[in-house]
């Protein structure tokens, strides 16, 4: 359950809302669940569920996975 979709912050609206672009569709997103810990700036990729950012997407981690995959393959 829990459809969530990645988007990119295009503009900060106030201390806890931002406009977020989802590949051609923009919507206001609530940042309450991710503010504080990290720097929230335009350009940041976030994961959005029911209008709330629930996680910041880390591209570094993504790369790591594809390495894991390669490793698994090399195992054979």
């Amino acid at each position: 359950m829990c459809i969530a979709i990645p988007g990119k912050i295009t503009k900060l609206l106030d201390e806890y809302t931002a406009m977020v672009d989802f590949g051609g569709v923009e919507r206001k997103v609530n940042l309450d669940l991710i503010t504080g810990s990290e720097e929230i700036i335009p350009g940041l990729n976030i994961l959005v569920h029911v209008g709330y950012a629930i996680s910041i997407i880390s591209e570094d981690e993504r790369k790591e996975i594809s390495e894991i995959l390669e490793q698994l393959e090399n195992d054979e």
């Binding site: 829990c2 459809i3 406009m19 569709v25 923009e26 919507r27």
Partner: protein
């Protein structure tokens, strides 16, 4: 709590629930259902009328009707007036007919602004001019504001067809051609509804298809049959409802190539966010057709040369197997069934 057997929004959504209502409550209660080759039972885009004995012509008469109830009345890319003309022009066109004239019956609530009514009529006019149809007779009713809150426009249309195109004419080997991207109309409307408020440059695709399809409809085999074997406009219920209906009625199978189905990125994203299936979203300026394989390239070229057909694509083909089923080849190469929608596509979170 007592449960009554009542109408819900699902009954008008173009899916299985609507089919149930129509076949049980409507078809089941009407005795004279035909006045020509194609009648009420066929649930095609329109019907044909047999000519009196002394007519002597190679043409057939086609008629069709639709009531239009869209909200908001004005949306990116169109309005209810444009929609009302296109809806009927397109139903005639996908029956193989040249649209000739429309009727226009307006039901409007008291309190409706006259200026807005005139804007709507002007839009109907522009679209009718583009589609080269006349609006020849009409009706105007006003009803109290507590009984209707806006405007409803019915257009019925009449056209002449040298060769009727049914929606049950698919044969194995036919190519399936879609005239452009899917979901633009439905998603552009949904974006503006209360509770969603999406910003997008996406526009409805509402447009009259008669000019786009005119030349393709003229292509015939040496024995005078149309190169197009079946056609529908995928409106309510989207591509999924139309292609399933064509497949079931034709007693064939259809295999679609998911990667070949044209779809805009904004439509894809909005569908992802709302848990919607883009194949179930309404279109108002698209046709889906079966074409004899030897003419597919010619038809595609004709479509590509027209402004409304730039994104046209061959999206699949008809097969003798899988009778009554539409299968979708997914990007990983698997085949999965594309089912008839149940009811209204409802935005989801899970």
């Amino acid at each position: 709590m007592t449960k009554k057997n009542i109408i819900t929004m699902e009954h008008g959504a173009g899916g299985q629930v609507m089919q149930g209502l129509i076949s049980k409550s409507i078809l089941g209660n009407i005795s004279n259902r035909s006045a020509g080759t194609v009648g009420l039972d066929d649930l095609d885009d329109g019907a044909t009328i047999a000519l009196p004995a002394d007519f002597n012509s190679s043409y057939e008469i086609v008629i069709t009707t639709d009531s239009h109830v869209v909200k908001p009345l004005f949306f990116p890319g169109g309005d209810i007036g444009k929609l009302a003309v296109c809806g009927t022009v397109n139903d005639l066109t996908v029956m193989g007919a040249r649209p000739v004239a429309l009727t226009c019956a307006i039901v409007v609530s008291e309190g409706f602004e006259r200026e807005i009514l005139e804007e709507i009529i002007q839009s109907m006019d522009l679209t009718a001019k583009e589609a080269r149809v006349a609006i020849v007779t009409g009706d105007t009713k006003t009803i109290p504001r507590n009984e209707l809150d806006s405007i409803i426009i019915n257009t019925s249309g009449i056209g002449f067809a040298p060769r009727i195109i049914r929606d049950n004419g698919l044969s194995p080997e036919d190519m399936i051609i879609l005239t452009g991207t899917i979901g633009d109309h439905g998603i552009s409307l949904l974006s503006h509804r209360e509770g969603f408020n999406f910003n997008t440059k996406l526009e409805s695709d509402v447009s009259p298809l008669n000019d786009l399809l005119e030349k393709s409809l003229q292509i015939t085999t040496h024995d005078g049959r149309s190169a197009i074997t079946a056609m529908k406009d995928p409106t309510r219920g989207g591509l999924s409802a139309s292609i399933n209906e064509m497949t079931q009625k034709s007693n064939v199978g259809v295999i679609l190539e998911e990667e070949d189905i044209p779809i805009k990125s904004a439509v894809r994203s909005a569908c992802e966010m709302l848990g919607l299936d883009p194949y179930e979203i309404a279109n108002e300026g698209k046709a889906i057709m079966g074409v004899r394989p030897e003419y597919a390239d010619e038809v595609l070229e004709l479509l590509h040369s027209h402004k409304y057909g730039k994104d046209a694509a061959i999206i699949g083909k008809v097969v003798a197997e899988h009778q009554g089923k539409v299968l979708l080849r997914t990007p990983i190469g698997s085949l999965r069934q594309l089912n008839m929608p149940v009811g209204d596509p409802i935005p989801r979170v899970c």
